[in-house]
Symmetry: C2
Subunit: 512 residues, 2 copies
């Protein structure tokens, strides 16, 4: 064990692999060549169509101990991973690691297969029940949580070797060209499947919408796809793209959004060329609403909106407030329709979005990002992975990537949830280092990092409710009481990897 | 020296590198991992804009002995390579190899720099004067001629290591995203720049049209571009995209096209899903005209048109005769306008177009390709690199790639040019092995390879002028006389690489 620069105890070895402790957001340099499968040649008359998932598993040579991946663009509507794991079990294959881009609540179906030893490790973040059970020690399945950019990095460098990627392909031809634009499982951008398509040793496109060759426009090309498997249904279309993203109506949320808007206004970033990312939460959308109003009022011609894209951003593109959208994942139907139609709405890979190890990700060009938190500490470190009960419930997403890249990262969070303080001495898990966080906005006031003295002065000049973050903590503790420390066992059940591959924190087993 | 399977004497070592002799079109298997630059990380606040080509050359660390590349999508309008070589000379750098995707007549300007030792090798095909002088032994500059697919392969495998790619970027932003769709040097598809953008050790985007970030739609992304250099002019727009592609009016050409159309009709390939490639020559376009008429008449819904794309193919797309176009290079303004606007008109990389070493190039999906020839021998071997005077005057292009991939490759050529027989005992240089050629069509008749007995029978049934290729040769020789063998010296001045990296023939110094 070794202490990293944020004071967290980090193992040098976890689940058989070696890791380096987190030092700072910037200095770690890659020492890799691009990691990729061997270059292959196929018979020029060979076809790629197979009859079933089982045939594909057999054709790829999947064996005990190997690593598979899927992408998460079908989100909670995805059936593929569950079916895949059941089939792998039925074929008697064991000790498989999952290195998907994310795992959602619907994938709780694989829990019995973890218990059974079919799945023995997760090289990816988890949302929901699986993480909770791992945290409780009820599932023995080491997990390494990565950000979207960090995951892309780990595939590109070969730190994570995916033996077979099974990629949901909403619109696919028999030779493996595919896109996410049409078909019953249309999900829009395939940004999270792109690193797998290039770096996995074998690639299987699984589709419920086989179209005549070629499936243009091509998001993932035939040149990287080994096999094509038609299936009846990739998932539940109703859950693939939610159409309910809505501005919050909660008064606390609205207050937070108003404060966040004040911060953006005071930052001086709101001018021609403005670039912006926000999530789909109600508070985030309320901030976006303010941003739109400010851009209209100032006749600002923005550069790009970024991230998971909603219809909200599509409207802003069409209104001319942004020159373009960078889309690594579509969050609603309006976004799916837009990316299929409007070439200013640019599909990008997870690597282009957020990897630290290339010559410039899109996050580096962000002016401002609005991010959420489950907890924030007085050093501005942010937790989004665990809740205050210590359960691993959320994937990192682009949190630490955008915070590191953006000129200004703004954390929006209520000061408390129920009786739990969100602003506190120490976070349960560090997802994003305080060194990359600019401002923490709560309904009780705005805490500005010392790295932004001019912004702080400007906010004070504008009579915004600027407070020291320790004051926010104290006000919160006065209402909630000082939180009792969680009790953990020594056992480490997971690692939280920073985007550069260093380990920023660990997930320990909760004492129950 | 070793004799390859076509009887040509091949050196094992040429210009310091080792090569394998050609064996057959299919069996050579790759033994490479993907060759690429080291994975880099840049400071997230770093910019990429440089002031001049000279600054860029200095920033990339270009040194004596290194290899540079450019792409040829500006064709005979390109000024970049000439300016680059002059600047390299002015900086005192020597012994540079050029591995561009092609070199055109306009690049004769670099001849003095070859004489001076600034440029000491060509890892690419040449069109025009430079090849002639190399053939005559007047320029000491070893040349390795590669097909479009073969060149992509050589970059992907690392057989050719490009130290710095200087890529003409017609529409580019300051962070290195670019496309070829707009700007004064708009050239459409950037398919031939794509392998360089991923595999060169350093990449410089050179632009005469710097646009606000981001330059969407993005053909080549910021994640692979190290530096951006604005220049006044990339080239001469009038010569970048020719607008004069016209069906031949020559009676011999029209007769050949009519015969070729008969072959296509008899082949049984002309049905729904038909895919087709042809060049821009007058005969090729005349064949395309017949194909269009046949498709209309048969109400054929074709799959794709492919290759360098002309307005002719755009018309066929818009008419619904093709479902899509695969475009690795635009040949005229109409194609440029279409690719920027119509997403069925798909930009593809040279690797996707034609590399033998991936899991399926587009050429594998071609039904029929129309190809030209400077010479054809009685074994159906085709020469497109040298003329009958032995001068290396033409690049291979996609000739051997499409011949190998297509179900049916049709060579269209007059039986003689001037007094020189085109159909002959032996070709001066083998570009494309007869094993991959289906039919040779001349104005005097149609020679069908023994590999297509059914096609031959069907053509005879249709009373098409089918002749044995030896008969075509004899008829030709009767008019031209038996050609006198060219006299060569022993000195090998160039290699002709087959698409898989094996050496199919050599270029020798002409005895003068």
């Amino acid at each position: 064990m070794v202490r990293n620069s944020l004071g967290r105890q980090i193992p040098r070895v976890f689940a058989g692999k070696t890791y380096v402790p987190y030092q700072d957001p910037w200095s770690l340099q890659p020492h890799f060549k691009r990691g990729t499968r061997e270059i292959k040649r196929i018979n020029h008359t060979a076809g790629k169509l197979l009859g079933s998932l089982r045939e594909a598993i057999a054709a790829t040579g999947l064996k005990d101990g190997m690593t598979i991946s899927t992408h998460h663009s079908l989100r909670n509507g995805d059936h593929l991973l569950n079916e895949l794991v059941a089939e792998i079990d039925a074929m008697g294959i064991r000790d498989i690691k999952i290195a998907s881009s994310s795992i959602h609540a619907i994938h709780s179906e694989i829990i019995p297969f973890i218990r059974k030893g079919v799945i023995t490790g997760l090289e990816c973040g988890v949302n929901g029940m699986i993480g909770e059970l791992i945290s409780k020690g009820e599932l023995d399945c080491p997990v390494v949580v990565r950000s979207h950019g960090g995951r892309a990095r780990s595939l590109i460098t070969g730190e994570v070797l995916v033996d077979v990627a099974f990629l949901a392909a909403p619109c696919c031809d028999e030779y493996g060209n595919f896109n996410g634009f049409t078909g019953p499982s249309a999900c829009g951008s395939l940004g999270y499947a792109m690193p797998d398509s290039v770096h996995a040793r074998k690639v299987v496109a699984v589709t419920d919408h086989l179209v005549p060759y070629p499936a243009v426009p091509i998001s993932i090309p035939q040149t990287v796809v080994d096999f094509v498997v038609p299936v009846a249904h990739l998932g539940d279309p109703k859950k693939i793209v939610s159409t309910t993203t809505r501005v919050t109506t909660d008064p606390i949320g609205l207050q937070i959004a108003k404060h966040a808007a004040q911060v953006i206004e005071a930052s001086g970033l709101m001018k021609d060329g403005f670039s912006f990312q926000t999530g789909t939460g109600g508070i985030s959308l309320a901030v976006a609403d303010h941003v739109r109003a400010m851009m209209r009022a100032g006749k600002i011609k923005g550069s790009f909106g970024c991230g998971g894209i909603t219809g909200y951003f599509v409207d802003m593109l069409e209104e001319g407030l942004f020159q373009s959208l960078f889309d690594v994942q579509c969050f609603d139907l309006k976004a799916v329709e837009s990316i299929a139609r409007d070439r200013r709405h640019q599909e990008i890979s997870a690597s282009m979005y957020a990897s630290p190890f290339n010559v410039g990700a899109v996050v580096n060009r962000l002016d401002c990002v609005i991010l959420s938190a489950t907890e924030v500490d007085v050093d501005f470190n942010v937790n989004v992975n665990t809740e205050s009960n210590g359960y691993l419930l959320h994937n990192t997403g682009g949190h630490c990537d955008t915070a590191a890249g953006a000129k200004l990262s703004i954390i929006v969070a209520p000061s408390m949830r129920g009786r739990l303080p969100i602003i506190r001495d120490s976070v349960t898990t560090i997802t994003t280092p305080g060194e990359t966080v600019g401002v923490v906005v709560t309904e009780r006031g705005i805490a500005v990092s010392d790295r932004y003295p001019e912004l702080k002065a400007e906010l004070i000049r504008r009579k915004a409710p600027v407070k020291d973050i320790r004051q926010l903590r104290d006000e919160t503790y006065a209402l909630t009481g000082v939180p009792r420390p969680l009790e953990f066992e020594d056992k480490i059940v997971g690692l939280v990897e920073y985007r550069d591959g260093s380990i920023i924190d660990v997930i320990r087993k909760i004492k129950v």
